[in-house]
């Protein structure tokens, strides 16, 4: 076993970053999500929990319009990022995703060098003017992802050659490098061993200082450890949303209680 790090779980922020109102998602004729209203705070870790198939990942993918890449997915309702509707016709999803970065369930480093993996985002978004600036971003992103010490001597090696936990931290560094405002994480630890999980959890807490972090997790312990706000999804509905401490100690909805006590899941 490992020592659970002592992480901050109190809500310290009140600025709303993302506002969702009446969000409905359909895959073809099947409704996957109904009437989700949620306010996600800046510089806060928000956890989405719920049994598999409950729509938590679907909602996460709405926040940076990754559902656009699925041909039969349809999103209704309103999601505002800093007061601007991200589903507005004028919004380019590509530009949106630069602001709302994403880390996936399975580590998916590109088959390129570690350096090129991290430099990919800044390059395509034109964030740098010189090689020196790019070097600096790569270094600081890897430092933020707590990977710098391990890889600084082998930046030219393939990203796919790292261990699982290192790969996931590389993906976090890659997402951080584009200087997003929100960081979405879709079960980022599900493919990792406990030690790597602890490292990534610690990292998530640190990232909170710079970003609004939204994390989907199937592990209630993880949600309790890293998040300040928690949303519980069930069968495509947002059942309960509130402070993590509140949800885990004193849930107001019986379904939330059943889930937390392990009766549904």
């Amino acid at each position: 076993m490992y020592d659970a790090p002592n992480l901050e779980t109190r809500v310290t922020q009140t600025n709303t970053k993302i506002t969702a109102r009446g969000v409905q998602v359909y895959y073809g004729d099947k409704q996957a999500l109904q009437d989700v209203d949620v306010d996600i705070l800046d510089n806060t870790v928000t956890a989405f929990i719920g049994p598999s198939g409950c729509g938590k990942s679907t909602f996460l993918r709405c926040l940076n319009r990754m559902n656009d890449t699925i041909s039969n997915a349809r999103v209704e309702g309103e999601i505002l990022l800093d007061g601007e509707n991200i589903y507005d016709k004028r919004v380019d999803p590509v530009q949106l995703r630069a602001k709302v970065g994403m880390v996936f369930q399975k580590p998916n480093p590109f088959p390129k060098s570690i350096y090129d993996n991290v430099a990919y985002g800044p390059k395509i978004h034109g964030l740098t003017r010189s090689k020196a600036e790019l070097d600096e971003i790569v270094e600081s992103s890897l430092r933020k992802a707590a990977l710098w010490k391990e890889v600084k001597d082998r930046l030219g090696e393939a990203g796919t050659g790292l261990s699982g936990g290192q790969q996931q931290r590389l993906c976090i560094a890659r997402a951080v490098a584009t200087a997003p405002e929100v960081l979405l994480m879709d079960e980022p630890c599900s493919a990792l061993d406990p030690i790597a999980t602890a490292q990534v959890e610690e990292l998530i807490d640190e990232l909170r200082a710079s970003f609004s972090v939204v994390i989907v997790t199937h592990s209630m312990q993880q949600a309790a450890r890293v998040s300040q706000k928690t949303a519980f999804f069930h069968l495509g509905n947002l059942v309960e949303y509130g402070d993590t401490s509140h949800i885990f100690t004193n849930p107001s909805d019986p379904r939330t209680e059943s889930y937390i006590t392990g009766r549904i899941g």
Binding site: R90, Q95, L96, I124, A146, T178, A179, A209
Partner: protein, 454 residues
């Protein structure tokens, strides 16, 4: 602790000024333009391929359709008994002494007489040039007819025969007055005469069944050349290929898929199969020439040798398709059969094979389609030779008689000098494509009908 305490690290990137999502940055516009360009390249690539395909099919169809129609001359001929049977005894042996030259003279004279009788002026056209309207094929046919039915002698019959290639070309628009002026084989005056004859109904175009049934003809008579021998040759070859390739391919696939142990020997077979599938087809022609003709002394140009070569050539593709079909049968079926006490062999033959049959059949038809269109190896085993006689029936050893094949006929006509043969060549392609389309449609229907979702 890690080295990532954010307070010690500078911000990741020079934080860009909070930009609105609703306006596009200049860079974003550039990136989107690049995106549109990239997508356009894809569309362009597809358009290029499809338009080349369309142009090719269109040119071939427009060149080839006319091969199915043929200008023919229709006029009455009195079969002069004195000229055609000088001894007057109606003996076949005696009558055979009159060669086609005799019949040519008769036909020429009768055509001239008929034109005169109908009041068609042959002004500016010498008698010899009028005679040149009649295909050299016509006297030969008339001679065969008279030899068969000597009682026709002395009667007046209506002869319908091909017009020569140039006249045919003029009626179909291939030969124009401009090209005729440069051509020593035809004159503008002859074309004028052709117009007048057409008005009078002596010269007419008809659907040309002969194109599908006649054997090949020599360089001088493109109008008489047909696909008969090539069709028979191709049919013999395809039948033999099916007979050989299906059992061999299925047997080999069953062994490799169901029985073969994973060892070096089967690895060697696998490597061989995938490489053979990619060996240039002409190499199979060399193999056929060396093994089947020079070594085993099979007759050159025979459908049997062609079929052997095509069998070896299509076998790898068929094995690959068959194995895929066998592999698609779920293991649960095998387990079920083995579970009720069937032997491995019974399982395969009673359960796996029937379930894989539609897939095997589809693969075989597609393999056959590619074999039907294959040309290069057949050139080397002599199927490009000029064959004027039909091969015998399949039970009389016809597969050992010289024959040609459809695609080879396309090639050999294309390499002749008279442009009339290009039309024939394109016409042969239409026939070939018709067969291929039919085979592919059958394969698609089979696939649709028996497609199974396990």
């Amino acid at each position: 602790m890690t080295d990532a305490t954010s307070s010690q690290v500078p911000a990741a990137a020079p934080s860009p000024a909070r930009s609105s999502l609703l306006t596009q940055s200049a860079l974003m516009k550039k990136r989107n333009a690049a995106e549109a360009r990239f997508k356009a390249y894809g569309v362009a690539a597809i358009c290029v391929s499809l338009s080349v395909l369309a142009i090719m099919l269109w040119t071939i169809f427009s060149d080839g359709v006319s091969a199915f129609k043929q200008a023919s001359l229709t006029f009455p001929v009195t079969l002069d008994a004195d000229a055609l049977d000088p001894k007057g005894n109606r003996e076949r042996a005696e009558m055979m002494r009159v060669t086609t030259i005799g019949y040519t003279k008769l036909l020429n004279a009768q055509l001239l007489a008929h034109l005169e009788a109908r009041g068609i002026s042959t002004e500016g056209v010498s008698d010899k040039d009028v005679a040149a309207f009649i295909s050299r094929d016509t006297p030969a046919r008339l001679r065969d007819m008279v030899l068969e039915q000597p009682e026709l002698l002395g009667q007046t019959i209506t002869v319908e025969g091909f017009a020569t290639g140039r006249i045919d070309g003029y009626i179909k628009g291939r030969v124009t007055r401009d090209t005729a002026a440069l051509d020593t084989n035809i004159s503008v005056a002859q074309l004028d005469l052709a117009d007048r004859m057409q008005d009078e109904g002596i010269l007419d175009t008809k659907f040309n069944w002969g194109f599908l049934t006649n054997p090949d003809a020599s360089d001088q008579r493109p109008e008489a050349a047909g696909l008969g021998v090539a069709l028979i040759g191709s049919a013999y070859m395809m039948a033999l290929v099916v007979i050989m390739v299906l059992p061999l391919g299925v047997a080999a696939s069953i062994y490799l898929e169901e029985f073969a142990p994973r060892n070096r020997w089967t690895d060697l077979i696998e490597v061989n199969i995938s490489n053979l599938a990619a060996v240039p087809s002409i190499v199979y022609g060399i193999l056929g020439l060396a093994i089947f003709i020079n070594f085993a002394k099979f007759p050159q140009s025979s459908p049997l040798v062609g079929a052997l070569v095509l069998t070896l050539m299509t076998l790898p593709t068929i094995i690959i398709a068959t194995r895929a079909a066998i592999r698609a049968v779920p293991p649960s079926i095998r387990d079920a059969a083995l579970g009720v006490g069937a032997s491995k062999m019974q399982t395969v033959f009673h359960h796996v094979l029937p379930l894989a049959a539609p897939g095997i059949l589809t693969g075989t038809i597609l393999g056959l389609a590619s074999a039907l269109g294959e040309t290069a190896p057949l050139l080397l085993i002599g199927m490009v030779a000029f064959v004027a006689n039909y091969p015998a029936g399949p039970l009389d050893g016809g597969v050992l008689d010289p024959a040609t094949a459809l695609p080879v006929q396309v090639y050999s006509w294309a390499s002749r000098s008279d442009p009339a043969f290009i039309e024939r060549s394109a016409g042969a392609i239409i026939v070939l494509l018709a067969f291929l389309v039919t085979m592919n449609i059958i394969a698609i229907i089979l696939r649709r009908r028996f497609e199974r979702r396990w």
